[in-house]
């Protein structure tokens, strides 16, 4: 009678599943049924009064204005619950020192929260400056191409997001990103990166790093809006992107970028 019992049980299980689909959905998606349901089955627009097709977000960075104060990194950590350990960052600031013998020293000043440290004798410096870095929100993102489960994707308004419930934490995207913008979140064990503070920009606010930047070295705007500060910034400056030869079409624009910056 083993087989009959099994088949009976199977029938019962399947029919129960169909009737209580909500519960099973949560089991399969791995979420707690008491938690707010995150899936949207009716397919309506997710944010009221917001049309993502009318926007195309991008960031501008005025390298000459960056003073390396790290306010942006700290604001990002608070706003996005980035782990406090210094090597997990969604955005970071690099100090470039080009010495008189033409050797280039790059240091991530976000490492160690005591502020910038001197490491090169000042008399040896030919030129030196800070370069803020973050996810470039590429038009042609390598991270999206390599994701084996389709957990990372570009939204209609041009931001690359990660579905943390789909991500299996394999780390392919972290390897694929030419800008080193991704990291594996130590708690969720999924990939994480800058989202341009998506929860803020859809409400018309600035990303946290842009909000707190004291010198206006970071600008944020909408490429589809001719009145946005970013469009003016693009018009008035010589614009560079990082690693243009990789054909990723980044949407973080650098003004007056030094040739040594990689």
């Amino acid at each position: 009678m083993y087989r009959r019992g099994f088949l009976k049980g199977l029938l019962w299980f399947l029919s129960t599943c169909v009737f209580s689909r909500n519960g099973v959905k949560n089991v399969i998606a791995g979420t707690n049924p008491d938690a707010p349901v995150s899936t949207n089955a009716n397919g309506k627009s997710t944010i009221e009064g917001y049309d993502p097709t009318k926007h195309r977000y991008a960031m501008g960075i005025d390298v000459d204005k960056c003073i390396g104060c790290n306010r942006c990194v700290e604001a990002c950590t608070v706003e996005n619950d980035v782990p406090p350990e210094p090597f997990f960052t969604r955005t970071w600031v690099e100090r470039y020192v080009i010495k008189k013998d033409k050797s280039v020293h790059v240091e991530n000043i976000a490492n160690g929260s005591d502020g910038p440290k001197e490491m090169v004798e000042e008399a040896d410096i030919l030129r030196s400056f800070f370069v803020p870095k973050l996810c470039n929100q590429c038009e042609n993102p390598p991270c999206v191409q390599v994701c084996p489960v389709g957990a990372t994707f570009s939204t209609e308004d041009g931001v690359v997001l990660i579905d943390s419930e789909r991500c299996i934490g394999c780390g392919y995207c972290i390897q694929a990103c030419p800008y080193g913008a991704r990291y594996l979140h130590p708690k969720t064990r999924t990939a994480d990166k800058c989202t341009f503070c998506y929860h803020r920009i859809v409400k018309g606010m600035l990303p946290a790093c842009v909000e707190v930047c004291p010198t206006g070295a970071r600008l944020f705007g909408d490429l589809k809006n001719r009145a946005s500060r970013l469009v003016r910034f693009e018009r008035m400056n010589k614009i560079h992107v990082l690693k243009p030869h990789l054909n990723t079409h980044p949407k973080v624009y650098y003004a007056d970028l030094d040739g040594e910056v990689r």
Binding site: C17, I47, C66, I67, R71, Y96, K203, E211, C213
Partner: protein, 245 residues
């Protein structure tokens, strides 16, 4: 007719029907659509992303209540600085202003995050040497952070170009002011690297004082047509220390 199909084929067919049927039931009835359809799972991601808590309220909101401070700040050097750059995330404070108070930095260690001297910082950004600039005194005893103005205004060009000023001060050009040779746009003080002062670019410019027959009595005179021929003056003479050439 059904009886003519061999027993083992019939049994196999039943297994096939169960497997195929089971797959179809699983695909269309049990699995939630958000797990199957790309558009839906992307939408659920966007929804989750949008639902995140905003922690920085934005400077516009602050000005709504703290109008007095916003007006004072709007006139000073810190006018483009967002309130939350110093006071930290304040969205909770906007929801419950009485109980949640934002952070107010009063110690000496905070201002140097931006204003301590650092060789990589852009020239012209106000920076101090922490060890000699009024040691141990909190910055706010002399400077109002909402309207920072140095108690003594630094001397024009030498505030940033101190090295050149020191050299020039002991040279023959000590009494020549910087603006005699360099036209300095006002914007240069705001964005020193973007808007640059002019530099003389012709021999005739130096010649205004140094050619034979010029009205400057105290300047050494040369014959512009024979002296140095096709070289520009500053290729041999450093203008900030002309004697050293």
């Amino acid at each position: 007719m059904f009886e003519r199909i061999p027993e083992q084929i019939r049994r196999l067919a039943i297994v096939f029907v169960i497997v195929i049927g089971g797959t179809l039931v699983l695909r269309y009835l049990i699995l939630p659509p958000s797990l199957i359809e790309t558009r839906l799972h992307q939408e659920s991601t966007i929804e989750r992303e949008v639902a995140k808590q905003v922690k920085f309220a934005g400077a516009v909101v602050c000005g709504g209540c703290h109008e007095d401070i916003a007006t004072v700040k709007g006139k000073g050097f810190h006018k483009s600085l967002s309130c939350e750059s110093c006071h930290g995330p304040a969205a909770m404070h906007t929801e419950d202003p009485m109980t949640v108070k934002p952070f107010a930095p009063r110690q000496r260690k905070f201002c140097p995050l931006c204003h301590a001297y650092d060789a990589s910082r852009p020239t012209g950004f106000p920076q101090i040497n922490l060890t000699i600039h009024n040691p141990l005194k909190p910055c706010i005893t002399c400077h109002n952070p909402h309207h920072p103005e140095p108690p003594t205004v630094p001397k024009e060009c030498s505030a940033c170009h101190a090295q050149i000023a020191r050299t020039k001060a002991v040279s023959h050009h000590a009494l020549v002011s910087c603006t005699t040779c360099h036209k300095t746009p006002r914007q240069h003080r705001v964005s020193p690297r973007r808007v640059k002062p002019t530099k003389p670019d012709t021999r005739e410019f130096c010649g205004k004082c140094h050619r034979e027959g010029s009205k400057r009595k105290d300047a050494p005179k040369i014959d512009l047509s024979t002296h140095g021929e096709r070289y520009l003056c500053w290729e041999c003479h450093y203008p900030h220390m002309p004697g050293a050439a």
